[in-house]
C-alpha cells in the first residue's frame, strides 16, 4: 500500500509574490497547505531603537520608511502623536488639517493602487497592473510637487506642514480626483465581472469576524468580514468628522469581499479629496507655537527671534512634559499607532509603533491552512502587507 507523507517547502524570502522579503515555511499534503509559518525580520532596521537617540523632529523621516507605500499616513500618525503629547492638537491651523486629510486620502488611493496592481498580477491579470501604475504615477507627481520626493515625503511637521502647496497644484489634484472614479470603473470592468477573477478569489482566504478581531486584524481586511469600524469615523482625527464619506463594509470575509471593500474605499477617498479641496482656504500652515515649530525661512534670516528659535529647535529640540500617549490613524492597511513615552527630555524615551501589516500577517496561517498552495499567493495579496512596516 502506498504511504503518504507531508512535504515542507520554503517560499521566499526571494519570491516575486511575497511582496518583499517574507519567508513562509509551508507544510504541504500534495497541493493542500497543512501548516504555514511566516518568518519575518529580514528588513529590521531598528527604527524604534534609533528614534530613542533622535529629537522629535528628527524621528519624522524614519517614519516614512515604515509603510513606504503610504508614507504620509505614517507621518500623520507620528505628528498627531507628538502633538497630542505636547497638548497642541487644538492649535493646528485649519489649512494644515485640510491639506493633511487631502494628502492622506490621495495616499490611500496610491497604496490601494499598488495593492490592486500586485494582487491582480500575482493572480495572473497583467493589464490591470499597468493601468494602476499609470494612475499611481500621477499621485507620485503630486507627491513630488508638494514634498520634493516621490516616496519618502517627510512633508508633515509637528504643528502643521513643512511648506504650503505650490501654485496650481489644487487644480491638478481636482482634475485627478474627478477623473479617478472613471479609472476605477475601468479596473472594475476588467476584473469584477470577469469569471476567471471571480473563480480565483471568491471563497478564498476566508476568515470569520470573531477570528479576525481576536487576531487583531484591522482596516479593510477587517471590514471585509462585515465589521463596521473605521478610525476616521469612530475616533476622528485631523478633522475627519467634517467630511461626508461612507465606510465601506462587506460581508463574507473572503478575498472577494476585501477586494470590493478596497475598491469602494478608493471611490470614497476621491470624494473626501474633493470635499477637502472645497474646504481649502488660504491661511497659516503652522501652529502658533514658536518653541515647537520651525520658523519660516524668511523669519530666520530677517528676525532675531526667528533665528534664535531656529537655532534652539535644531540644536536642542523641544521638551514635552513627561507622560505617555497613544495615537492611531486609519492607514490604508489598518490601524497604525504610535505609543510615545516621554521622560521630559527632547528625545522620545520609548516609541512603539503599532504596525498594521505585522498584525494582519498573523492571520495568514488561519486564512490559508487547508487551502491550495496557489491560494497562498492570493492570500498574501489580499492582506496587503508591506514588509518595511512589518520588520520596522
Amino acid at each position: 500500500m502506498a504511504t503518504t507523507e507531508t512535504m515542507t517547502i520554503n517560499m521566499g524570502p526571494q519570491h516575486p509574490s511575497t511582496h518583499g522579503v517574507l519567508r513562509l515555511v509551508l507544510e504541504l499534503d500534495g497541493e493542500v497547505v497543512v501548516k504555514a509559518v511566516p518568518h519575518i525580520g529580514f528588513l529590521h532596521r531598528g527604527i524604534e531603537k534609533l528614534s530613542e537617540y533622535r529629537t522629535y523632529h528628527q524621528v519624522l523621516p524614519l517614519t516614512d520608511r515604515l509603510d513606504y507605500l503610504a508614507p504620509m499616513h505614517n507621518n500623520l500618525a507620528y505628528v498627531l502623536a507628538v502633538e497630542k503629547l505636547l497638548g497642541i492638537t487644538d492649535l493646528i491651523p485649519e489649512r494644515a488639517q485640510v491639506v493633511r486629510v487631502m494628502l492622506a486620502e490621495l495616499t490611500r488611493i496610491k497604496s490601494h493602487l499598488v495593492w490592486l496592481a500586485c494582487h491582480a498580477l500575482d493572480i495572473g491579470a497583467m493589464t490591470v497592473f499597468i493601468y494602476c501604475f499609470r494612475e499611481r504615477e500621477r499621485i507620485m507627481d503630486i507627491y513630488e510637487k508638494v514634498s520634493g520626493a516621490r516616496m519618502t515625503s517627510n512633508y508633515f511637521r509637528v504643528g502643521g506642514l513643512s511648506a504650503d502647496l505650490p501654485d496650481g497644484l489644487e487644480k491638478e489634484i481636482r482634475t485627478f480626483a474627478e477623473e479617478m472614479p472613471r479609472h476605477i470603473d475601468t479596473y472594475e470592468g476588467l476584473l469584477t465581472g470577469n469569471k476567471i477573477w471571480q473563480k480565483r478569489i471568491q471563497g478564498v482566504g476566508v476568515i470569520s469576524a470573531e477570528d479576525a478581531i481576536d487576531l487583531g486584524v484591522s482596516g479593510p481586511s477587517l471590514r471585509g468580514c462585515g465589521v463596521n469600524w473605521d478610525l476616521r469615523r469612530d475616533n476622528p482625527y485631523s478633522g475627519y468628522e467634517n467630511y461626508d464619506f461612507e465606510v465601506s463594509v462587506q460581508e463574507g470575509g473572503d478575498t472577494w469581499a476585501r477586494y470590493l471593500v478596497r475598491l469602494k474605499e478608493m471611490r470614497e477617498s476621491c470624494k473626501i479629496v474633493r470635499q477637502a479641496l472645497d474646504r481649502l482656504q488660504p491661511g497659516p500652515i503652522l501652529a502658533d507655537a514658536p518653541k515647537i515649530c520651525l520658523p519660516p525661512k524668511k523669519d530666520v534670516v530677517n528676525t532675531i527671534e526667528g533665528l534664535i528659535h531656529h537655532f534652539k529647535i535644531i540644536s536642542e529640540g523641544f521638551k514635552p512634559e513627561a507622560g505617555e500617549i497613544y495615537q492611531s490613524v486609519e492607514n490604508p492597511k489598518g490601524e497604525v499607532g504610535f505609543y510615545i513615552v516621554s521622560d521630559g527630555s527632547a528625545k522620545p524615551y520609548r516609541m512603539k509603533i503599532r504596525p498594521a501589516s505585522f498584525i494582519n500577517l498573523q492571520a495568514l496561517p488561519k486564512m490559508c491552512e487547508g487551502s491550495l498552495i496557489a491560494d497562498v499567493v492570493a492570500v498574501i495579496g489580499t492582506l496587503d502587507i508591506v514588509l518595511g512596516e512589518i520588520d520596522r
Binding site: 519575518i40 525580520g41 529590521h44 531598528g46 524604534e48 531603537k49 534609533l50 537617540y53 533622535r54 529629537t55 528628527q58 497630542k84 503629547l85 497638548g87 477570528d211 478581531i213 481576536d214 487576531l215 487583531g216 484591522s218 465589521v227 469600524w229 469612530d234 475616533n235 529640540g317 507622560g323 505617555e324 500617549i325 497613544y326 492611531s328 490601524e335 499607532g337 505609543y339 513615552v341 527632547a346 528625545k347 524615551y349 520609548r350 512603539k352 503599532r354 505585522f358 498584525i359 498573523q362 520588520d391 520596522r392
Partner: protein, 160 residues
C-alpha cells in the same frame, strides 16, 4: 458607559491588584499587579467589551524599580474606547503570564517583546525570536544595550 466606570468596576472587582490609575491627555492608564493580569484581561474582554488588543509592548525604565513595564493597549470596537493597562515587571524575574489565550493577537506581540526587550511570557505557545536572528545575543531595545550593538566602538559622528 465610560472608561471611568470601567475603572471603577475594575477597582471594585480587583481591589487588591489595581495599583494606580492615571489620566494624561484624556487617556486612562491603569497599573495592575502582574499576578492577576490574565484574570483582569479576561474580565475586561468578557465583561467590559474590550475585544480588541491594539498593541502590547515593553518599556525599560533602567535605574528604577521595578525596571520594566509591559503595556497593553485595549480597544472596544463597539464603544470606541481605549484603555491602557500596565504591568510592572522586576528585573530579577522578567516574566509575565501570556495573554495570548485572551486575545490571539498577543502571540506575535509577546514574541516581539521577548525578542527586543527580553521579557518572557509564561505558557506562551511559541516563544521564539521574531525580528532578530534566532542566534542573536541580547535584547536590543533594553536601555543598557548600545545603539551600535555590543562590542563595537561607539559611533563617532553626531547623532542629534
Amino acid at each position: 458607559m465610560s472608561v471611568q466606570s470601567v475603572v471603577e468596576n475594575l477597582k471594585g472587582k480587583f481591589s487588591a491588584s489595581v495599583l494606580e490609575v492615571a489620566e494624561f491627555r484624556g487617556e486612562t492608564t491603569v497599573v495592575v499587579k502582574k499576578e492577576d493580569v490574565v484574570a483582569i484581561c479576561t474580565y475586561l474582554k468578557k465583561e467590559e467589551g474590550f475585544n480588541f488588543l491594539s498593541d502590547l509592548c515593553g518599556v525599560d525604565y533602567l535605574g528604577k524599580s521595578p525596571r520594566f513595564m509591559v503595556v497593553y493597549h485595549l480597544y472596544n470596537i463597539k464603544t470606541h474606547e481605549r484603555l491602557r493597562l500596565k504591568v510592572p515587571v522586576e528585573e530579577k524575574s522578567p516574566q509575565v503570564d501570556t495573554v495570548s489565550g485572551v486575545w490571539a493577537t498577543a502571540n506575535w506581540h509577546e514574541r516581539e517583546c521577548w525578542d527586543l526587550m527580553g521579557i518572557s511570557f509564561n505558557n506562551h505557545p511559541d516563544l521564539r525570536r521574531i525580528l532578530m536572528p534566532e542566534d542573536w545575543q541580547g535584547h536590543p531595545l533594553r536601555k543598557d544595550y548600545p545603539l551600535q550593538g555590543p562590542g563595537r566602538e561607539p559611533y563617532q559622528g553626531r547623532l542629534s
